[in-house]
Amino acid sequence: MTSPLLGFAARAGRAAAVLLLVAVTALALPHLMPGSPAVAALGVTATPEQITAFEAGLGLDRNVLAATADWIGAALHGDLGHSLANGAAVTTELANRIPVTLELFVAAQLVALAIAVPVALVSAWRPGGAVDRIATAGAFGWLAVPGFVLGLLLIWLTAVQLRILPATGWTPFTEDPVENLRHLVLPALTLGLPEAAVFTRTLRGQLLDTLDRTHIAAARSRGMGTVRLLLRRALRPSSLPLVTLIGIGIGTSLGGSVLVESLFAVPGVGTLAAGAINGRDFPVIQAVMVVCAAGVVLATLTVDLLYRTLDPRIAHGHR
């Protein structure tokens, strides 16, 4: 059996290699992407001399590996460079926006779990029943609706027709917690509802499998009540795929949050990334890429550790 410490060290090593690869790719982006950052920043009237000087300032005249080494060195000291658009420190910009995106991500996961867990439990307890049939049809329906359409529908219904929630914008939690929650509802629903559909389908399948196991039959024979049986005996072993989905979701949520944050004007990492890509603001794009990759790597490591806690057989090498 591999020692847990050695196993963790191997995982950390692989994570560092992934991050290094992402950093090299990010630093190579200005060379690979169409669209000149100099023209985007300086405008179409920039002279060739201005463009050359600007590109030199960005390190585009240097070897990618050397530029990556310098960038990593600076990043380890907390310096992720400066935005080409407004000269702001990228570290500060990210520090302001990461909490917003994280809050949105957590809220979306809570929405998804709050819907998925009860619906999946009822569906799995009575497969083919009314709730199961409605949940199955509803899940496919949600999955078929693109995020921006769902977002616009929610805005139309709750902000325009009912006028109970704001259509767009953001209030920081520290400024006004109630307003923060009001602004959070629609983007969290837009991100969370499609995830709820995926979670429901995944958890239902896993629960059906678990409910067929002998320990469930044994618990039933001992007279354990339905609710207790589902929550205590079936849910925990069936929830491992959900943990994986949430872990993967940290990475994929950036893609969704670009759209949702732009739609609802939420000042998170998504809108920062969208603006940076449109303006070819490479220092920002590079930092967002590496920070998001670090988020995914960290989430994967956390999921690994959680697996061991949720299912001790994994820690003991039985599964």
Partner: protein, 515 residues
């Protein structure tokens, strides 16, 4: 005699400019546009006006190109006063300036400033401040696109507290029009990341770059007091949710240019203040085959039905464009734009040796851009021309334009709102925005003659001569003039009539929120 006529013309123009100043005090809606649309009742002071911006601003400094684009000028006008403003039908009139008068050959222009104007920090906005501002924006490190315009100035002299003389490198009868945006928004040099201080009706209270900015009334404003106590600007980049924010009351005023939204605004209880402020065109790369042959360009010109483009892509919200001189321009003459003729298009292609013409069309990646490209694709297909559409994002568009990495390209611009600037920038062989690589010495000469002519009639004649040649050579095709501007909720008062504005420009100071 010639000199005498020029002197008379100069005097006439000076009178017009000076009259403009007297007719437009700072207390009225000079920046905003014409008279209010009416039906608003008495103006209401106080409250907060919420404005939705369609794009993130980067720096609060007139040197920043974003701040002086039409949709964001509603923010610039809060903090800075322009020396000159665009009026109806493409005319330019003084605002912060009292007058702007030329010498006999339009090589020296004398600016007279209003007296008693101060920046929001109390420092005087005088002749020296104007010179310092122009010098700052001319420096390459400021990265202002207006540096090209500033480069046409040979020397500046401060002749007293309120007078500046500009000596130009070459005659320019339309020189004052260069002072309607960045060069005209006189500001103090910013310190660090702080906003550049201006003389506008509001000052910055708080700012979150790229997200929002809140401005409060400038207590020491030299002009009329702004109506709203505060204006909160939020960046709402998605056009659909921005529009829905107007309907829900999360925004009071916002930029709108999507044809479907303009069409349904009234039905949704919104009011609009729009003008023919953008033009849809097509650019050819005239430096490479097959579009280095005018016959091929003309064939494409004959194959496109501008009415169809306008009706399908713009839902009848605009009008067809007849050339580089816009329909609202004072220089406009009868159209010489060729009517659609598919047979002639085929004949020209056969004559040029390209009977099966096919090419790649770079199009705006937004839905409207793709729809427009699809309409063009179908129209060209009727003439046997095969066009493939390649979507481009904004940064890709800028690179394709400047490095001329295109065959044919979609180009939507607000430049034709100012005929002088458009003609002088886009078509001369050495023009700063000559993206097509077009070269016609006769056109260069006509444009230069127009630029130097102080007599509006002579300038119009010269510009129309250039326009005629441009339409014949077809380096650029003109499709539609499009409506764009602001939509406001019913509780906003003071919305001006901008229907004759080729440059849509709105000041938040003139708007109020009804209670």
């Amino acid at each position: 005699m010639k000199r005498h006529r020029q002197a008379l013309s100069a005097a006439a123009l000076a009178t017009v400019v000076a009259l403009g100043a007297s007719a437009c005090s700072a207390s009225d809606d000079a920046v905003a546009g014409g008279a209010a649309q009416g039906g608003d009742g008495p103006a209401v002071d106080g409250g907060t006006l919420k404005v939705g911006l369609d794009r993130p601003f980067t720096r609060l400094d007139p040197a920043d190109g974003t701040l002086t684009q039409m949709p964001v000028m509603i923010l610039a006008n809060a903090l800075y006063d322009p020396l000159m403003v665009n009026d109806d039908n493409g005319a330019v009139k003084p605002y912060l300036a009292k007058s702007f008068t030329p010498n006999g050959d339009a090589t020296v222009w004398t600016l007279q400033l209003r007296e008693g104007v101060t920046f929001s920090d109390g420092k005087p906005l005088d002749g020296q401040a104007v010179v310092d501002h122009v010098k700052r924006l001319a420096k390459p490190e400021t990265k202002c696109t207006c540096a090209v315009d500033a480069g046409t100035i040979g020397a500046m002299a401060v002749n007293g507290p309120t007078e500046v003389a500009f000596t130009l490198k070459s005659p320019n009868a339309a020189f004052p029009s260069l002072f309607t945006r960045s060069l005209g928004y006189v500001s103090e040099a910013p310190v660090g990341d702080a906003p550049a201080i201006g003389s506008g009706p509001y000052t910055v209270e708080s700012v979150q770059p790229g997200v929002s900015v809140t401005v409060t009334r400038n207590p020491a404003y030299w002009g009329a007091r702004a109506h709203a106590d505060k204006v909160v600007y939020r960046v709402l980049p998605d056009s659909d949710s921005r529009y829905q924010s107007l309907r829900s009351g999360d925004a009071d005023v916002a930029w709108v240019e999507t044809p479907a939204q303009l069409k349904q605004a009234a039905g949704d209880g919104l009011r609009t203040a729009t003008g023919p402020s953008s033009t849809s065109t097509i650019l050819f790369n005239t430096k490479v085959a097959p579009f280095d042959d005018p016959r091929v360009r003309q064939a494409v010109q004959y194959a496109i039905d501008r009415d169809s483009v306008e009706k399908i892509a713009y839902l009848g919200q605009g009008r067809v464009s007849d050339g580089p001189i816009g329909s609202a321009s004072a220089y406009r003459a009868a159209s010489t734009y060729p009517a659609r003729d598919v047979a002639k298009a085929r004949a020209l292609l056969a004559e040029a040796g390209h009977p099966d013409l096919s090419f790649e069309f770079l199009a705006d990646s937004r839905p409207e851009g793709q729809q427009r490209a699809t309409v063009i694709q179908q129209l060209l297909g009727e003439a046997g021309i095969r066009m493939t559409i390649k979507p481009l994002d904004p940064a890709g568009t800028a690179t394709a334009l400047t490095q001329r990495q295109f065959q044919v390209m979609d180009f939507i611009t607000s430049m034709f709102g100012d005929t002088d600037t458009a003609l002088n920038s886009l078509f001369p062989a050495e023009g700063p925005y000559n993206f097509t690589g077009y070269r016609n010495p006769a056109v260069d000469r006509a444009i230069a003659d127009g630029r130097a002519a102080l007599d509006p009639a002579k300038r119009a004649a010269a510009y129309n001569e250039a326009s005629k040649a441009i339409l014949a050579d077809a380096p650029m095709l003109f499709l539609t003039e499009n409506q764009a501007g602001f939509a406001a909720s019913a509780k906003v008062g003071g919305l001006p009539d901008l229907s004759k504005r080729t440059v849509v420009n709105l000041s938040p100071a003139t708007l109020w929120v009804k209670r």
